[in-house]
C-alpha cells in the first residue's frame, strides 16, 4: 500500500518497518499529527506556502475544542477537487449559485467587515451566502476578536431557521447545533454577543489533545495526499 510511505514522509516514521494493518475502529491523531495533515492537505490543494501554518493552526484550534476541523477541511478539498483553485475565491460558483466558496479565503475577505458585523445585535446579524464547510470560519473570527476582547456569534440559517450558533470568545467557544446541519446551511450570519443574554453559553477552551478519525476517512485523506498532480 502506498499510504504508509505518505505517513513516513510526513512524520518521519521508519520506512524499514512494514506498517501494521489499520484497526477496524477509529484511529487517534495527536494535535501535532493533525497540524501535519492540515499542512499537507493545504499544500496538496495549492494554498500559498505562507498560509499552511495558519490553516493548520485554525484546524488544531477547532479539534482541540472537540469541533471537527480536519474532516471539514479535507471534505472541502475533495468536494471541489474538480474546480480550479483560483475559482474557489469567488462567491458565485461556476454553475451560478452563490455560496460554497472556499471557507479559508472567505475568512480573509470578511476582515474589513468584521468590525461592523460584530457591532450588530444577534437578532440583526449580517447575513451572507455560506462558504463551504463554514465551521472553518470559527477560528478566523476567534483570532480577529482576541486583540480587542470582544465576543461574537456566528449563526447558520437554513429554511428560515437558525440551525446552529457558535459563540466565540477569543480562545473559547460554545457551539450549538449539529455539524451536518451547519455544513448544509446556505446562509451564515455574524453578530455581536449580548453578554447579559440568556441562556448563557458555556464557553470552553481546549480540552483534548487527541482527535478521533474513522479509518475510512483516514484512508481517503491519505489517498488524496498521494494522488498524482
Amino acid at each position: 500500500m502506498r499510504w504508509h510511505h505518505v505517513i513516513g514522509g510526513l512524520f518521519g516514521a521508519s520506512k524499514s518497518a512494514p506498517p501494521a494493518e489499520l484497526p477496524d475502529d477509529d484511529l487517534e491523531l495527536s494535535m501535532v499529527e493533525v497540524a501535519a495533515y492540515a499542512r499537507a492537505l493545504a499544500a496538496k490543494r495549492g494554498y500559498p506556502d505562507d498560509s499552511h501554518d495558519m490553516i493548520a493552526r485554525r484546524i488544531v484550534f477547532l479539534e482541540r475544542r472537540g469541533i471537527p476541523g480536519l474532516g471539514p477541511f479535507h471534505r472541502d478539498l475533495v468536494l471541489f477537487a474538480d474546480e480550479p483553485f483560483s475559482m474557489r475565491f469567488n462567491m458565485v460558483r461556476p454553475d451560478g449559485r452563490r455560496g460554497g466558496q472556499c471557507p479559508i479565503i472567505a475568512g480573509v475577505t470578511l476582515d474589513p467587515q468584521l468590525e461592523a458585523m460584530t457591532c450588530r445585535t444577534e437578532s440583526d446579524a449580517a447575513w451572507f451566502p455560506a462558504p463551504s464547510n463554514s465551521v472553518l470560519l470559527i477560528p478566523k473570527l476567534a483570532e480577529w476578536l482576541r486583540p480587542i476582547g470582544r465576543a461574537a456569534v456566528i449563526h447558520w440559517l437554513a429554511d428560515g431557521q437558525r440551525v446552529g450558533q457558535a459563540f466565540v470568545d477569543g480562545f473559547r467557544i460554545a457551539l450549538h447545533g449539529k455539524i451536518e446541519a451547519i455544513h448544509e446551511a446556505p446562509y451564515v450570519g455574524i453578530s455581536g454577543f449580548a453578554e447579559d443574554g440568556e441562556p448563557k453559553p458555556a464557553f470552553r477552551s481546549g480540552f483534548t489533545e487527541r482527535m478521533r478519525i474513522k479509518q475510512r476517512h483516514m484512508t481517503m485523506m491519505i489517498e488524496y495526499l498521494g494522488r498524482e498532480p
Partner: protein
C-alpha cells in the same frame, strides 16, 4: 467599559505590568499561550522568577488567580512554588493585554 478599555487603563495605572511582560523570555510567554489554549490548565513557577512577578500583577487585575498548593513546597523544600490559573475574565482580557503591549513597540 469594554475589556479593551479596561486593559488600557490597567496598563496606564500600573506601568510595572508592561515591564514585567517585557521581561518574559519566549519560553515564559509560551506558558501564557498554553494556559489560554488549554482549559483548566495550571501553571507553576518559583518566587522571584519573571513569571512570578508578572502573574502576581495579573492577579491584581483579575486575570489570574493563585491556587493554594501546599503540597508543592514538599517537592523542593526551601523553594516556594507558586501555582496559578486563568480566571474566567482572564481568557478574554489576557490576549488583549498581550496585544496592547506587543503593538506599543519598545
Amino acid at each position: 467599559m469594554t475589556v479593551l478599555t479596561q486593559m488600557r487603563a490597567a496598563l496606564a495605572d500600573n506601568p510595572q505590568l508592561e515591564h514585567a511582560f517585557r521581561a518574559l523570555s519566549p519560553g515564559d510567554r509560551s506558558i501564557l499561550h498554553a494556559l489560554l489554549d488549554t482549559e483548566a490548565a495550571e501553571a507553576s513557577t518559583v518566587v522571584g522568577s519573571a513569571n512570578a512577578r508578572l502573574w502576581t500583577l495579573l492577579e491584581t487585575t483579575g486575570i489570574m488567580k493563585r491556587n493554594e498548593r501546599p503540597e508543592l513546597t514538599k517537592v523542593a523544600p526551601g523553594i516556594e512554588i507558586l501555582s496559578y490559573t486563568l480566571t474566567d475574565r482572564g481568557y478574554r482580557a489576557l490576549p488583549v493585554l498581550m496585544s496592547l503591549i506587543d503593538s506599543s513597540g519598545n
